[in-house]
Symmetry: C2
Subunit: 283 residues, 2 copies
């Protein structure tokens, strides 16, 4: 490193910013969908930035990817067919494929360049891409979900960017209704649902749209995510026809694969609702 340089993301909505000390920009391109930058940093490994927003760092992506996958997979009794909408960095797909019960995991990412750059700069996230159970599609997830054969999926994970730009259509009732239709009884929808502190109105909108689409049970889980605004993030689980009060705690305790954040205790912890959130969401 010669001179100190910082990549800084100023987040207008929350009036807060998060930055990382970088050494060089390794790549930049404009795809048909968005701009993508890859940076190298002094302490956080590589950074992937889409439309100016930090998506992934090598060092801290484990929080998000594990929490998008394992709580749903350890809630469903046996998830055989899992779909990831978005998630082009392949980190969520990798976590899903750690579960032996999964027979098919499809990743539906609109922008192939995200995955190609992940393969190059975040190879560890892509290490399961050649798993025979994995299928990578580069098409519109909204359309794919609308045309999905009904009652064929066990888990749908919406691993999207913020609800502006190409991901906008992933945060509304019509899309959630497609998900509901495609899920089997007891199936689970997982949506990344932004910062519980900074995006509370958006979180409420997401939950309202999920209920409006016909999901009975909702739970919002919280977890740290240093590279996202406020450093605190959430995933909202919605279930078809079955409630969400329990998970396979014993299964999580005996899990046969390594994680960095997730375990059975952390699963329970993520379900705890802070006072202000309990008041706001009625959880």
């Amino acid at each position: 490193m010669t001179t100190q340089q910082w990549f800084n993301e100023q987040h207008d909505y929350s009036g807060s910013s998060i930055g990382f000390r970088v050494t060089q920009r390794l790549h930049t391109e404009q795809t048909p969908f968005q701009s993508i930058e890859i940076w190298d940093s002094t302490d956080w490994g590589k950074l992937m930035v889409i439309d100016g927003c930090m998506m992934v760092t090598t060092r801290d992506n484990f929080f998000y990817h594990e929490m998008m996958a394992h709580p749903a997979l350890f809630t469903h009794p046996r998830a055989r067919r899992v779909v990831v909408i978005g998630g082009g960095d392949c980190g969520t797909l990798r976590e899903v494929l750690k579960h032996d019960e999964v027979e098919s995991a499809v990743q539906v990412e609109i922008d192939e360049r995200v995955t190609r750059l992940a393969e190059q700069y975040f190879p560890e996230l892509c290490e399961s891409n050649n798993d025979p159970r994995a299928q990578l599609l580069f098409i519109d997830g909204i359309k794919w979900m609308a045309e999905c054969e009904p009652e064929t999926l066990d888990i749908v994970i919406v691993d999207s960017t913020d609800p502006i730009g190409p991901a906008q259509g992933l945060f509304n009732e019509a899309f959630y209704h497609s998900c509901l239709k495609a899920l089997r009884h007891g199936g689970i929808l997982v949506q990344q649902s932004e910062s519980p502190l900074a995006h509370l109105p958006l979180l409420k909108d997401i939950r309202k749209a999920m209920k409006g689409a016909g999901f009975q049970a909702l739970r919002t889980l919280t977890f740290p995510q240093p590279c996202y605004p406020t450093g605190w993030w959430s995933a909202t689980l919605a279930r078809k026809g079955v409630d969400l009060s329990d998970f396979r705690e014993r299964g999580a305790e005996m899990k046969q694969f390594a994680t960095q954040y997730y375990n059975a205790e952390i699963h329970k912890a993520a379900l705890a609702s802070p006072e202000f959130l309990r008041d706001a969401l009625g959880d």
Copy 2:
């Protein structure tokens, strides 16, 4: 607001930064101990910055202050005498005094100017300063603790700045030994113990010093804190002569005062140890 201006804290140790959109600097001064700035912000209320480090924002200080106070107070069967070392903004003191069982709460802050500025810019944090049970001292906490009458305290909360500058002496075995001596059997020491992700070596040092001083049981609790590096923070509890596996869960469920983050569920959640931390700390 005329032009956009950001207060940005670049944190060398972690190679990450956190910032807030500000409107104006309301105050700046150099005290005999440190520099203090007060800013007004667009979304986070007032900010207090000490030696360039964000200490408190109006909007998010509740995480830290509640988690420094309530887990210890709902673990001790009946804490009558509580001491806060540092904590000049008075937010921790306010949380302590929400507990009716507390008969005396002493705040020992070395820099009186922190408290005077908190009274002016964060009056809500100081609303219990005139409680007859409260005593505010502006002297050296290390010296005070070394001279404290043995076996007279139930809880000592070390609500300090980072272990550089005036707070350095609050993070070592000699100081923790003074705390141990001053605590009654079953008494609890609480130390803010930095980011579990970014400051893991420091967290280990703190725990080693606590054990070295003679504390038997340790537990590190984690919680969100957006204005501190990585947005994820910890407090380490150390207990004299008694273990730390239980807390008064029923008491926390029935608490007779309002909080924004803390509740019984959150207390349990904060005790959950992520995989990487369990490996690192053996918790």
